[in-house]
Symmetry: C2
Amino acid sequence: MSTKYKRGSFQLMKSMNRSTILNMIREEGPISRADIAKKTKLTPPTVSNIVKELISTQFVIETTQGMSKGGRKPTLLEINADQFYTIGVDVGTTQMKFVITNLFGKLKSHTTLTIPPFPSHEDILSIMKKGIRELMDGADLNKFLGIGVGMHGIVDPEEGRSLFAPAFQLHDIPIRDVLENEFNMIVKVENDARAMTLGEYWFGNGNDADNMLGVNVGNGIGAGLMVKGRLFHGEHNLAGEIGHITIDLSGPKCNCGNYGCLQTLAAGPAIAERAKKELKAGRPSLIHELVDGDYDKVDGQKVYEAATQQDPFSIELLHQTGRYLGIGLTNLIHTINPKRMIIGGGVSGAGEFLMRGIEETIQSRGLTDKAKETSIVLSKLGEHASAIGACVLVLEEFFIRQE
Amino acid sequence: MSTKYKRGSFQLMKSMNRSTILNMIREEGPISRADIAKKTKLTPPTVSNIVKELISTQFVIETTQGMSKGGRKPTLLEINADQFYTIGVDVGTTQMKFVITNLFGKLKSHTTLTIPPFPSHEDILSIMKKGIRELMDGADLNKFLGIGVGMHGIVDPEEGRSLFAPAFQLHDIPIRDVLENEFNMIVKVENDARAMTLGEYWFGNGNDADNMLGVNVGNGIGAGLMVKGRLFHGEHNLAGEIGHITIDLSGPKCNCGNYGCLQTLAAGPAIAERAKKELKAGRPSLIHELVDGDYDKVDGQKVYEAATQQDPFSIELLHQTGRYLGIGLTNLIHTINPKRMIIGGGVSGAGEFLMRGIEETIQSRGLTDKAKETSIVLSKLGEHASAIGACVLVLEEFFIRQE
DNA sequence: AAATTTTTCTTAAATTCTGAAAAAAGACTT
DNA sequence: AAGTCTTTTTTCAGAATTTAAGAAAAATTT
């Protein structure tokens, strides 16, 4: 049994307290030293000493004075939010999104570049460099703490590599090494669904759900698992590959070779496929007009658009999709039992339409009342969730004690 | 976000080191102080001081001297395995098993009592007390560290209660309070699948798999999740209720009301059901003889027996069951991605026959080579796995730093 | 018998938290 | 307006514990 043999030391003690205080300021600030001492059960001198250090690193500043409660006014402490920025990249199947956020995850600027079909390793890396350079242009380099990359497919976060990107059919892209070399700052790489989850946990709808799960529904379906406030990767970084869990043995064939994978029933292409079939069979729908009779143009996006315009067929189709997704999510409730699940990714625009089916299914299939109580919410960060989450990868380095 | 605000203190530092050293002795002993210092990166005096304390608590003893490597012979340290005992209880659907183990999880004695049909709260608790009293009879009370209980159904380990035991249709049995009151020692209560998993992790086939999963296949199917060496419960202690994950939307109806739950395809009753159907249809099999034509007597057990005697029908039936189970396990690989899965519970006797189907399915359905590498092994602790795991619940209190 | 290696113990130094109390700043009372 | 009380923050001595360095002890090798 490899209960990693952790050693207690002065350094550990200090870094735990540093991290605790810094995060308390981040999450509950503005807050006074005295309040921190009360809440952490650290003594006032300890808090004062560490705060002094934090102020000297410029992560924390003293702001306004607070209201007195009958004595000396407290000096309030706050994260120096705009002193440092982080860069986040979200590598999708056709687009690469770039964002700059401050220490509170607030979007400062963003841009998007297009990925050509059948890109090479070099294509991906040079688009990445280009986008980052563009975004950083003119700014003070010292302001940037690092770069985070959220990438679809299988990623090795420890080595900072994309091991396999299905949409590009590329293996083993050494993202971290290349970017670190180019920009000379910390670079973190993570799977996009996990990045999204992390983003929602820190700055989105994940708040106060220590055990939660982000579900990224787009061309495929991926999830990020949050266990005790940290991302969970599994043994080979495959945790959360829920697009390929089997929910219907006699379901449609998946590109992975099996039948009835969740994503053959609930991902974007599955929606488009079902829509096409019905449309060709003459089913009346607004989609006919949207694509002008060219069924090849039907995709998830078109269905959402039609649904937004109250097209009954599209609404029903998304409802049905929500029910399928709900079955997958119910399986997750019975496996992981998270406090909350956050639905994001390409479909999150159509989230409301999916939601009803999801909720219905969980209510009908959940094993117990507690299972049915699992809160399901839509992404708050929307289309930038993965990129903002990628920024959090960098923030974690500075805010969370690394063990 | 509730990143629990942990405070670093001298006590914490000390207790971390204490726990580290104690566990190193447990897992790697006999071992010398010098070796512990090397491996933990603690300094020799720190190790010596803590070891002195551990010896004074009688958990550790100096044993033989080791081989010298060219200098003074090392004094080897070992867990004082038989200085203390723990009591483990496994509450099944028809039987309650009781074991006494030493600090190495070694079985010292055991007994089994029968649970009557439709038991009341009081029945369960009094059988429990009776079995424990019987087993402790005559022994020195100071030898016992505590009592652990593994109970099927939904359990609240924090409150030490069985929230719902489906086999008895009982709610809210206050096991811990009653036993603590009766025996005046630490009492821990946990779900049986989780207890089994913990047992295998400490003393069975879980060794060195920090992220692993124990699967208990009996009348139902339950799993225990091990994350970073500790049991994972989920938000409402429902994590691992994998008997009710849907794998076949058009599968058989489950007693939970849904269709195609894993346990309608792969648990004991499902095996019996399929066997009966085929037998009644005239399928030749050794089972006919085993039950003497009375199909009501057919259960999982009979099928295993027949398989053991090379009955082709039973072997094929278990093979098929293994394939179903494999689908469930593949879903878990793609969700949790554990390093290892351990199959135990009522069916573990028939494990070999299931294994082939499980392996086949994982090989054919695993998403990547890494997924296919997941090691699947049978329980080492067999029928006592849950009860021994229940003992570990108590050992954790003494060996693992509680935070 | 001397040199070397390994284990263990001793002592002093370093790090960090803790507790008591003082200082600072403001609010309330008379 | 002065004095007293509260609250916040800092200061400083003391305590807990690890760390570093060296010495003693014991066994093996030369």
